[in-house]
Symmetry: C2
Subunit: 189 residues, 2 copies
């Protein structure tokens, strides 16, 4: 099993090397180019991706053709459209590599089979969902209660990596503001 995924497991659950190796065949490797899409709006999501290197972005396009970024998965994180994966409905969001990336992917069927039958994977899925819960709770309060400058500060505090790696256009779409406004806010930091 790939080292990055191995240490992900070890950080979250007690698991023996043998067991880990038995899970390995479920994950296949895929290399993608910068800007390549892994899922488009309207398609049903069939895979869960784990980022070995590079990063994935989850975003949707609203009625006015405006992109909204919901989540960015850096190396060592799972990233997929869980809403489509869980419900089996067509996705309202896109998955796109923002950099040349190396990924592992596991099919939806295999993943949920392991969630049901492998305590370690159950634990990991639980952790993914719990982490998402905590992050999005803060994100909702940020949208409700604070202005753009505070949201930008909060982003820099919680994910310092984002600003240096991701284009301002995409950061703006994550914060829910235009890139014009982001450009002006940076001057006030």
């Amino acid at each position: 099993m790939h080292e990055v995924l191995k240490s992900y497991f070890h950080n979250l659950t007690k698991i023996e090397e043998e067991k880990l190796e038995s899970l390995s065949p479920y994950f296949k490797e895929k290399k993608v180019k910068k800007n390549e899409f892994l899922l488009k709006e309207g398609e049903v999501c069939k895979f869960n991706y784990f980022v070995i290197s590079g990063c994935l972005r989850l975003f949707s396009v609203n009625n006015e053709g405006f992109e909204n970024t919901r989540y960015i998965a850096f190396e060592g994180k799972f990233g997929t459209s869980f809403t489509s994966l869980i419900t089996g409905q067509p996705s309202i969001e896109y998955i796109q590599a923002l950099e040349k990336s190396t990924l592992l992917y596991i099919s939806k069927e295999d993943f949920y089979f392991l969630v049901e039958n492998e305590p370690s994977v159950n634990k990991i899925y639980r952790n993914i969902l719990e982490s998402a819960y905590i992050t999005t709770q803060r994100r909702i309060y940020d949208f409700q209660g604070t202005d753009s400058l505070e949201r930008l500060r909060s982003l820099i505090y919680h994910q310092p990596k984002i600003l240096s790696r991701i284009s301002h256009k995409i950061i703006a779409s994550y914060l829910g503001i235009t890139h014009y406004t982001l450009s002006r806010l940076k001057a006030q930091l």
Copy 2:
């Protein structure tokens, strides 16, 4: 076991009556008055609540003293500050009954013991987290990409109950707008 909780289990997982009855002692009943608090900011959350009748609201107060409502749990739903429950950190949010309510509550320790050791409770927790994921994904896209009127329409579409039961002040705090604006938007519906 209380009928409302029983049917909650039956809807989400296969479970025998005997097993259900063995889980029953973990849940205790509590009656609360309208506006009563079950958790305040700064306290560590120690219980998971299930609403038999009435409803609970989860909200926080920002720097300017403004209330922001994140979630409202009606009858037949679990509601608690999972962020505090999971992390063990003091809560940034309050839990308050919006109506005279009857609740079941289970301690954090018992709940996570059952999550680990009772497949049916594991399944239920997974469903709670997955549902929260799906709801908050939509909520984030709503905040990023759509104006207040559309957010109000989206709320009415997805939770028609809310408008008739909950004060406009609180609905405004859920939508991230002032009650003045909500009052004006209603005229445009």
